[in-house]
């Protein structure tokens, strides 16, 4: 099993697709962070656009930007399995590992690990930009207060779990374009609406789980007023989504003839 996971990690590293996903997730992180840096404590029409950096919620918002690119981890996971069907490399993969559930399990582990590494990269870049910005604007420069360890640690975990969820979804859908449309449409449209309209339902969705793990609301506004699961609950929820998709796929789409 360890050999299979190492082979999957080599598969990811040996094409350049992951670099694109890393660039996109870092781009989203920096974009969100840029808004916070630009607007924190700045008055617009006589009102503060965002509370000043002395407000703990704003400090949390700075660091929560690290998790803005989680969707790209889901896409990375989706491509990790649908790409095998698209390029017909799935034939070779099943020749090497004819017990197909073992290949899927190895991919789940490998993409989780790769997602964690992406999370670390996003966190490092976020801290490298947010810390000096907070210092300049007179905010807290402690990485231990204001829930910062939870936000940053949660971001790393959320990225790993999102890659895993994407992999399970991709195994189920098989068609790359369809799977990505489902993921993006769900995250950007269905979830965004449900989170606001029905927060009691929203907390059980992937984005709600990320909010639970990182203890921060992605984007603007405080996360305090929304129904949110405990952090461990959020992590368990994402893991359950990924494993459930993968388990259903094992007994349906993954068993199909490879012609």
């Amino acid at each position: 099993m360890i050999a299979l996971v190492r082979a999957e990690l080599l598969k990811i590293r040996s094409t350049r697709m992951w670099l694109g996903m890393l660039a996109l997730s870092l781009g989203f992180t920096l974009l969100g962070l840029g808004f916070y840096i630009a607007l924190a404590g700045v008055e617009m029409n006589g009102e503060a656009a965002l509370p000043p950096v002395t407000d703990p919620a704003t400090v949390r918002g700075f660091y929560a930007a690290a998790s803005a690119g989680t969707l790209f981890m889901m896409i990375l996971g989706i491509i990790g399995i649908t790409g095998e069907y698209r390029y017909q490399t799935i034939t070779q993969a099943f020749l090497v590992t004819p017990r197909r559930y073992r290949l899927l399990a190895a991919k789940l582990v490998a993409y989780f690990l790769f997602g964690l590494a992406f999370g670390v990269a996003n966190v490092l870049v976020t801290v490298a930009v947010a810390l000096p910005a907070l210092a300049v604007k007179g905010g807290s420069t402690s990485l231990l207060d204001n829930d910062v360890p939870t936000i940053l640690g949660g971001t790393v975990l959320a990225m790993g779990l999102y890659a895993l969820v994407g992999l399970g979804l991709g195994a189920l859908v098989r068609n790359q374009v369809a799977a990505i449309i489902v993921a993006v449409g769900w995250a950007q449209l269905v979830e965004a609406i449900l989170t606001v309209a029905l927060p009691s339902v929203g907390q059980w969705l992937p984005a709600g789980a990320v909010r639970a793990i990182t203890r921060a609301n992605i984007g603007f506004g405080g996360g305090g007023e929304l129904d949110t699961l405990p952090a461990w609950g959020g992590a368990a929820l994402l893991l359950a989504y990924g494993l459930a998709f993968a388990a259903i796929a094992t007994f349906t789409t993954v068993r199909r003839d490879i012609t």
């Binding site: 050999a3 299979l4 080599l10 790409g83 017909q88 099943f94 090497v96 012609t259």
Partner: protein
């Protein structure tokens, strides 16, 4: 040893493979022949556990492929030329297979050299020609030196030099004790390599015989002469079957020495004497067309 028993596969109402049985033995190159759509690829994919049979069995050394321990070390397979990620280099493709199956990575450069890809090892497969992809598929198949090889149309996309090389390569492996099963829809490709041929049409075996037997049946001679009428009469007396086409005689039942003696007796001048090269091709067409219900 490859053993296929009463193998059947239905795709909806289509019987792609219909009660197929044959064996491929160690030390032999077995040609798996048939027109396009005869069920060759489906049969090979069932052998390799990629397609689930509707009924019947396909065994490699007595086991189903999916039950083999470290299958890559037991069976080498090259199925289609397109199964590579275009953004991955040839060497990385082979390294992935090594890692996943627990084979030492030192063999990678060796098989790349063996298949003539040493110079392309670091290039992304997206830029490869069809022939280079075929070579990489072969390199993958022989990576772990397996005793059984299953190759689906391996000559597709190879240039004449590549086909010549492939023949020698397969011969060498079989002489070393490998079981080699190679499919083709072009008889000429396996004619010079195969020891045994299994001909399929419409999912059924129509002929399963040593190549020598088929060649023997199809054997005939082409004789061109300045005196066709005299020679034809003399060959007829010698017991040969003669089909005259202008100054060309197609002769069977008499060997080349017999033709020489007949020519001497008839005082006929020969301008050409050789084996009827299309004989085996004709047998192949007759066998497969008969099954399809058409005229040969």
């Amino acid at each position: 040893m490859i053993l296929v028993e009463e193998l059947t596969k239905h795709f909806g109402p289509v019987r792609a493979v219909d009660g197929l049985s044959f064996a491929a033995r160690p030390g032999e190159v077995t040609g798996f022949l048939g027109p396009n759509g005869a069920g060759k690829t489906t049969t090979l994919r069932m052998l390799l556990g990629l397609v689930a049979p509707t009924s019947g069995r396909a065994l490699i050394d007595g086991e189903r492929y999916a039950d083999l321990d470290r299958p890559v070390a037991r069976v080498g397979a090259a199925l289609e030329a397109t199964g590579f990620h275009p953004g991955r280099t040839a060497r990385d493709h082979l390294r992935v297979v090594c890692r996943a199956s627990g084979i030492a990575e030192d063999g990678v450069d060796e098989v790349l050299g063996l298949t003539g890809l040493a110079d392309a090892a670091g290039r992304r497969v997206g830029g490869f020609s069809l022939g280079m992809r075929q070579r990489l598929a072969l390199a993958t198949a022989v990576l772990a030196r397996p005793p059984v090889l299953i190759l689906d149309e391996p000559a597709n996309g190879l240039d004449p030099a590549g086909i010549h090389w492939l023949r020698g390569f397969l011969r060498h492996l079989a002489d070393g004790g490998c079981t080699v099963l190679v499919s083709s829809h072009v008889l000429a490709e396996v004619e010079q390599t195969a020891d045994h041929v299994v001909i399929v049409a419409r999912g059924k075996v129509v002929r399963d015989a040593p190549l020598a037997e088929l060649v023997g049946e199809a054997d005939g001679l082409r004789v061109r002469t300045e005196h066709p009428a005299e020679l034809a009469a003399e060959l007829d007396r010698a017991g040969g079957a003669v089909h005259r086409d202008g100054d060309l005689l197609r002769v069977s039942g008499v060997d080349a020495a017999g033709v020489g003696r007949a020519a001497l007796a008839a005082g006929a001048v020969l301008t050409e004497l050789g084996a009827e090269r299309s004989g085996l091709e004709k047998t192949f067409l007759e066998l497969t067309m008969a099954e399809l219900g058409g005229d040969p």
